[in-house]
Symmetry: D2
Subunit: 351 residues, 4 copies
Amino acid sequence: MIFASDNWAGAHPRIAQKLLEAAGTYASPYGEGDADRRVQDRLSELFEREVAAFFVATGTAANSLALASVSKTAPLIFCHPEAHVIHHEGGAVEFMTSGGKLVPVGGDGSIQGKIDPGKLKKVIARFPTDDVHVGQKVALTLSQTTEAGTVYSLDEIAELAAIAHDAGMKVHMDGARFSNAIAALGVTPAEMTWKSGIDILSLGGTKNGCWCAEAIVYFNKNDAAGLPHLRKRAANLFSKSNFIAQQFEAWLDSKLWLDLAKHSNHMAEKLVNAVKASKNVRLAWETGSSQLFIIMSDEKAAELRNAGARFYDWETPEGLENSVGAGEQIRRFITCFATKEDDIDTIARLF
Amino acid sequence: MIFASDNWAGAHPRIAQKLLEAAGTYASPYGEGDADRRVQDRLSELFEREVAAFFVATGTAANSLALASVSKTAPLIFCHPEAHVIHHEGGAVEFMTSGGKLVPVGGDGSIQGKIDPGKLKKVIARFPTDDVHVGQKVALTLSQTTEAGTVYSLDEIAELAAIAHDAGMKVHMDGARFSNAIAALGVTPAEMTWKSGIDILSLGGTKNGCWCAEAIVYFNKNDAAGLPHLRKRAANLFSKSNFIAQQFEAWLDSKLWLDLAKHSNHMAEKLVNAVKASKNVRLAWETGSSQLFIIMSDEKAAELRNAGARFYDWETPEGLENSVGAGEQIRRFITCFATKEDDIDTIARLF
Amino acid sequence: MIFASDNWAGAHPRIAQKLLEAAGTYASPYGEGDADRRVQDRLSELFEREVAAFFVATGTAANSLALASVSKTAPLIFCHPEAHVIHHEGGAVEFMTSGGKLVPVGGDGSIQGKIDPGKLKKVIARFPTDDVHVGQKVALTLSQTTEAGTVYSLDEIAELAAIAHDAGMKVHMDGARFSNAIAALGVTPAEMTWKSGIDILSLGGTKNGCWCAEAIVYFNKNDAAGLPHLRKRAANLFSKSNFIAQQFEAWLDSKLWLDLAKHSNHMAEKLVNAVKASKNVRLAWETGSSQLFIIMSDEKAAELRNAGARFYDWETPEGLENSVGAGEQIRRFITCFATKEDDIDTIARLF
Amino acid sequence: MIFASDNWAGAHPRIAQKLLEAAGTYASPYGEGDADRRVQDRLSELFEREVAAFFVATGTAANSLALASVSKTAPLIFCHPEAHVIHHEGGAVEFMTSGGKLVPVGGDGSIQGKIDPGKLKKVIARFPTDDVHVGQKVALTLSQTTEAGTVYSLDEIAELAAIAHDAGMKVHMDGARFSNAIAALGVTPAEMTWKSGIDILSLGGTKNGCWCAEAIVYFNKNDAAGLPHLRKRAANLFSKSNFIAQQFEAWLDSKLWLDLAKHSNHMAEKLVNAVKASKNVRLAWETGSSQLFIIMSDEKAAELRNAGARFYDWETPEGLENSVGAGEQIRRFITCFATKEDDIDTIARLF
């Protein structure tokens, strides 16, 4: 019963099988192989627009190199205070941008994990263009789904993107859980990205069935001009890039990615129902995606862990201090492509 | 007939099979899984000493992060002028060290690809310790096998390492083709590394049968203290690090790595014999490993390529200008774990 | 009537005279001259402890290099959200630390410009030691006087420093207006620095009578080990460092620095009295130093500017929105060593 | 008898006097003052073209920021192997360019300190455009006068600049001793810079009569677009930039800079004559500028030092090993604006 994170599982059988088959073949290295080219085409189809896609080793690489590729000297990048890029990437964005600054823009307290448009405008105003003392505004980055498991609506994305564009910035989406957001909203990849104002996407396959498949997707080729040198310099250009391409190909084939995301979201829904049916545990907030935040007592948490369940304790976000009682804490549960209905049933009985 | 590089092949069947089997399991992410730990132990056995090993995405990552981990402000790193780190890694070492300088130290012209000890001493002397104007000497890096396909003897390694140590530096080995060197010398991994003065090794599995398996191996744990933060910051910490561990485990199992290297060296020997038997082509210099440098006419090269052979043209190294006639050029041929005897026979007939 | 900033004035006559006299002499370059050594001794006397002092070109250089010298990979530096280092130094700290992160720690709203100890503890707790995903805690930096013109008491400094030390961090003081703080508190330089827990000081002479005289002062020589290479690499090692040394010598002589700071604080007091005596303008908050924040109407501001006064408009800090009426704004007035009593009298009449 | 370097002297009386007079005035900070603007105009006159000039703290800052301002990711900068930027600036260029590589291009052995056009072409050819593995060619940098005291002719500059431009690079001149070169060649500043293909100049006043006056001069304003943010981030934007402007103004006034350079060159000529008249010492090579390289015995050097002379020992350049006998060494003597005829006479008698 692994609910710790969606990077504990291995790979989906169809992806593993594809790799096995490709093992005996030759391919041009460094992204020049046939499969690399096919994935470019498949992604262009998926996004209903010609895109430029680049494979990298990790989600952190995707985020930090995407942001670096649209940076200038002393760049300012606006993000949510709990964003993965600012709090959990070990300084990668700051390093890849040679000293960029991530400027936190809080939510309004009621919408966990989302940037508030009014606050974004106010914070941006503090950084006048052409003032060498403050640096240069270059990008807004949104996580979809958010670190709090919530999902921006298309309108919310569009509103934030418009503010960023008005300030001369690019808009980046951290799509480590892109598939889950698409499955949750029931929209197309095009709608959730460039049609809503997204310029660059970190597209994550690793958390949704692949061993290691992360790509930076540019919706405007011009934005991608600097990426190849940045990626090589950051030691993120795979020689046998074919092994990433093969994974992505299997992942895109017959919309495997979407089926897997629907499955994990569905498992999460069942888990929500189990929480709601229990007297001992309760949701900290609603998410609508594959991440759940459940308030439970330390006793109950220990009991579940003794029964073999794995999940993380979660820090109480600002504004929710009063929702969490003494001896209680928020715990994060994540479902994924590999989660089994049995596991849900078992943990439901233990709640 | 792919002799272009050893990163064109896929993966060995035993490695592919291992990945397939692991796909259905769960593992702790970020290097904390069981297989990660097992590989640590296996490498300690292999090197007859407790080592600290860290997986990274690429050989460039291994080299640049290894060197960064023993760097100081404004570091000076001494290398051969044709070393991969100085000429073919897109500035990764300079970037990862926040502006380090690779100082080229030439060979003596007669030993292709190797640093000459006398020149090393002379160049080092130009950078006095504690002089802020010149920076800080931190490391010597050797490629084994070298970029010219040659192989340092144990004595040669030991002599260079002693000079570096005397100057207060660490010694790093770029072992992208470590296995081939071991197979060529017929020595143990311990003998070719720490017993000869090597402090840190970039151990490459990718060019010898893996999809993507690169590790930084420290023979003294203290030297590794800075690596974890550097690796994370460089976006080179895999979440599903299990997929690297599984490859390494299969690779180390029953000395698969050594068998594969012996095979590719053996194929190279046969290729050498074919060259020597031909009136049309000749060796530019002897290597003793899986890389060959063959002088042939443009006509012959075109003929081979038309027949489906893939290989690279190679720039004539300084000092060999007179060995290469008009209408001729050096071509690099590389054999690998996947090279078939048939391919050798076919090309031999075409030489 | 220049109240815009304390970097608009030239230099005090005694400092200018000293430079004139030294112009005809020779001195060893790069900090090795006799005057450089004398200033080291004079600073050790001033701080009642042997210090290591290094001249740099700007206050930004002092802050960023001081913090870089105690940094590690992916460093975390805690500061007030309005600190000069985070908001007005063009990304210098992030650059000099090769990608450090400045983590803002808010005040409690009632004490403008000061870090609240409770909040500091809470924020620090979010960054566990040895977690590669969050980076490494290295320093707390305090501005004295603060960017809001307020002055930390010795107890306040000591409390914050103790929290930082407990978390394994160094404590840095941005002393661009160090002299004004000493004059305001009536304490000794030793008391306000190392006796209260400060490890490193950016000591600013430029805003208090010098042309260009900034130094990084280490109270523990070990902390300074990395600075010389960092300073050279950052292009901040003056060849004719004698011209900085001469300024500092004149500045320290007969406590000129303290007399000048007392003068500017005294001019500020008179300005406060003028504000309090006026019906048209009022203080936004009390400061106690040479910086004043005055709420006045746009009309009044225009009137003063027409009369030749120079001062800056100031953004309303969070929490004070209700104190500033429509058509009003906060304006910052700064007095300095060169401010004349006549100027105060003139502007007082105009208030 | 200081011949150690031209940064040991203080400042010329006219420059010191100018600073004294300006001390009592106010000026807008950060390069916005009236004198800053006047110097811009004066430099445009001097160079017979509208230039964009930026003050920085040191010659190292001028070189490294000038090169950074025209850099791209993983930049390649070509220079002489003995250039100050590669050997004596503590890694500043590599740091300011976030990991740039200085590629050494040797001379032909007969012209000390100068880049050989043929070798430049050959080295450039090794770095194909658009190859991510090698980085991006951005600039050629020439030192005028060279580190060996020699002076490029206008034709030599133009030939090298044309090669660089053909490769899509900018051409930078390290003019730490710009004035001495102009005085030596008897040409105009325009002729030696943009009319010969120079795009950016590091203009040094410090070694020729100023306390601290270094500027980056752009002959095409577009090239300067990135500089302001780079300079601020590098902590090289002076607040009281007026004190640099005042020095430059005095320096440019009535061509003081040229008179001082003529004086120091003239003193060097007299020193050359003294060397030639002596049986005990001899020139290592001819320079034609204010730097002399004299071969003398250790005994003679000790004798001169005992008599109070200061000068540096100099490493024997490659190719000249046979010119320097046992017990002998090359010594560098530099004259400057402050060198007195008496000093020359005295040392001449001691030779």
